[in-house]
């Protein structure tokens, strides 16, 4: 820390070339520079501090529940807190089912759209399509929830033959729609940033346009594509409102993919729906924080996995630079 307040001696320089006389004079560090450096440092540190505080807060509120409920009860398959059933399994499985369903739909579709915009359509169409896709990201999730309830749910009921349209599948479709703009936007940027020399090299080797895209351009852009996918899936995991509106909110245990056509309840929807009515300080109250903490852990793991992949890629390309 001391070095920051002290003049940095390495910044001294010779200042008189003509006479050859070496006078030493510190390069001026203006107060603007000093201020900017401080501000950047403060924002960086506070970002980390805030994350730390959030974890602490979650833990503080969640730990009392762990004192009152045994781990076996937590893993039980029934969530009915009013009667003392505190099993989180149906909620966790509900979230996983809806999210995985969304990912299965959104990842291939997002990648295909990104390739289409970056590689297939002419430049002017790209300049038109890209903002269009990005506008989708700005639609409030409540509005998407409306669309899901009124447009998507009847379709699901009709085509899937489900007793109700408010199912896990409806939630997955809606979440996929919400994740798409992020995936497309980030992946398209990555694909577009692949140097034209790669394309030239592949084409000069006798690759067709499609072979060039699939074997060269997409692998070269995979770091960015993965980042986009993780951001998209991250949004899907944390999404609350739209999911609450279309998944039916029945806390049932999920037994298999067939449950896609039945109502489920996600962790986010549970917190949002029950937080307003719960007695503060009760076991139920603290349990909602446990759910929040589990949610946090899941997205943390997803992000960790993503940055592990991205980090490995960077290290490899850094070796190229040396």
């Amino acid at each position: 820390m001391l070095r920051l307040w002290w003049p940095n001696w390495a910044l001294y320089r010779c200042n008189n070339r003509d006479t050859g006389i070496v006078e030493r004079e510190p390069i001026k560090r203006t107060w603007q520079e000093f201020l900017i450096e401080r501000i950047i440092r403060a924002t960086g540190v506070s970002a980390i501090a805030i994350v730390g505080l959030i974890i602490l807060f979650l833990l503080r509120e969640a730990v009392p529940a762990l004192m009152q409920v045994t781990p076996a009860d937590l893993l039980a398959d029934r969530w009915y807190p009013v009667e003392g059933y505190y099993g989180l399994a149906p909620l966790i499985l509900g979230t996983l089912l809806v999210t995985v369903g969304a990912a299965v739909i959104a990842l291939p579709a997002g990648l295909a759209t990104a390739i289409f915009i970056a590689e297939i359509v002419p430049r002017w169409a790209r300049d038109l399509l890209k903002p269009f896709v990005e506008v989708l990201a700005g639609i409030p999730s409540v509005v998407l929830g409306f669309i899901g309830m009124l447009a998507l749910a009847p379709l699901v009921r009709r085509f899937a033959g489900a007793p109700t349209g408010l199912t896990a599948l409806t939630g997955s479709l809606l979440l996929a729609l919400m994740a798409l703009p992020t995936i497309v936007s980030v992946a398209e940027d990555a694909i577009d940033a692949v140097p034209v020399s790669y394309r030239n090299a592949a084409l000069a080797l006798g690759a067709t346009r499609w072979q060039t895209i699939w074997r060269v351009v997409v692998p070269a852009a995979r770091t960015g594509i993965l980042t986009g996918m993780m951001l998209g899936v991250g949004r899907a995991i944390g999404e609350t409102m739209a999911v609450m509106m279309v998944t039916g909110n029945a806390a049932r245990i999920v037994t298999g993919p067939a449950d896609l056509f039945l109502p489920v309840r996600t962790m986010t929807a549970t917190i949002a729906a029950e937080m307003g009515e719960v007695a503060q300080g009760s076991t139920h109250y603290h349990l909602l924080f446990v759910i929040g903490f589990v949610l946090f852990l899941i997205s943390f793991i997803v992000n960790l996995a993503a940055s592990a992949v991205v980090f490995r890629e960077t290290r490899r390309s850094e070796r190229v630079m040396s």
Partner: protein, 259 residues
């Protein structure tokens, strides 16, 4: 053009070839030029002369950029390859290209080399491996990479990467090899290796190279063509052109008066 009994057999004949980009820049004007088989054909001149454009016309990479107008013919073994209905993919397998900056594809060394032949439908591992060793030896890279073929190609040094790109082109056993300033980013030792590879390769291939300096042009040229602002100024045997240029502009450029 002089009629000389020593003029070798031509592989590529360019007839009155002009090209203009859509931004209005006229890149080549009325070029007529023969590129000879089993020779190192050097295209040289100051930047912006249209050398790269001409080279890219030979394997139709110009298709990717906005070409507004193109006229004239490019004959490869007597067949016009600048026409519309040409099988571009097949053409690019016959006319390989090495670029100014090495472009290792994001795969291992082996995958880089197998990529072209596999796209062409070659699957047999034994013939791929045989081809791999042969190509790497021709590109003077075999001894350096034979034990690390499954490492990522980007881990190689710049000079090695460029020789890998040359080997990758050779994997397709093309008839013509185009090189666009292949040594511009390389150190002198790597440059010498690439140049000596070219000398060995010319027995079997038609080589067209844009050198990155006049000195290199003079070193490697069997035949040299001097380009200035989209026009072909002079074409002749390398030794004659560099020691006794016929055109004043060629002489000025070769002797370093401009450029």
């Amino acid at each position: 053009m002089m009629t000389d009994p020593t003029v070798p057999e031509y592989k590529i004949r360019i007839e009155n070839f002009s090209i203009r980009y859509s931004d209005g820049v006229e890149s080549l004007r009325g070029i007529s030029l023969d590129l000879y088989a089993c020779q190192i054909n050097v295209l040289f001149g100051p930047a912006g002369g249209g050398k790269s454009t001409l080279l890219r016309a030979l394997n139709r990479l110009n298709d990717l950029v906005d070409v507004e107008e193109q006229s004239g013919r490019v004959l490869l073994d007597g067949v016009d390859i600048s026409a519309a209905g040409v099988d571009v993919v097949a053409l690019r397998r016959r006319v390989g290209m090495v670029f100014a900056r090495p472009v290792p594809l994001p795969m291992t060394i082996r995958q880089n080399l197998f990529y072209g032949p596999q796209l062409a439908g070659m699957r047999a591992a034994s013939s791929l491996e045989r081809l791999l060793e042969q190509s790497l030896r021709q590109a003077a890279l075999w001894d350096e990479v034979k034990d690390r073929l499954d490492e990522p190609a980007v881990a190689l040094s710049g000079g090695q990467q460029q020789r890998l790109c040359l080997a990758r082109t050779l994997m397709l056993e093309p008839e013509v090899i185009l090189l666009d300033e292949p040594t511009s980013g390389l150190d002198p030792i790597s440059t010498a290796k690439v140049e000596s590879s070219l000398q060995e390769l010319k027995g079997r291939y038609t080589i067209a190279v844009i050198p990155h300096s006049v000195q290199q042009a003079a070193r490697v040229a069997d035949w040299a063509a001097f380009f200035l602002q989209g026009e072909l100024i002079e074409h002749g045997p390398g030794t004659a052109l560099f020691t006794n240029p016929q055109d004043e502009r060629t002489e000025d450029y070769v002797t370093g008066r401009f450029g």
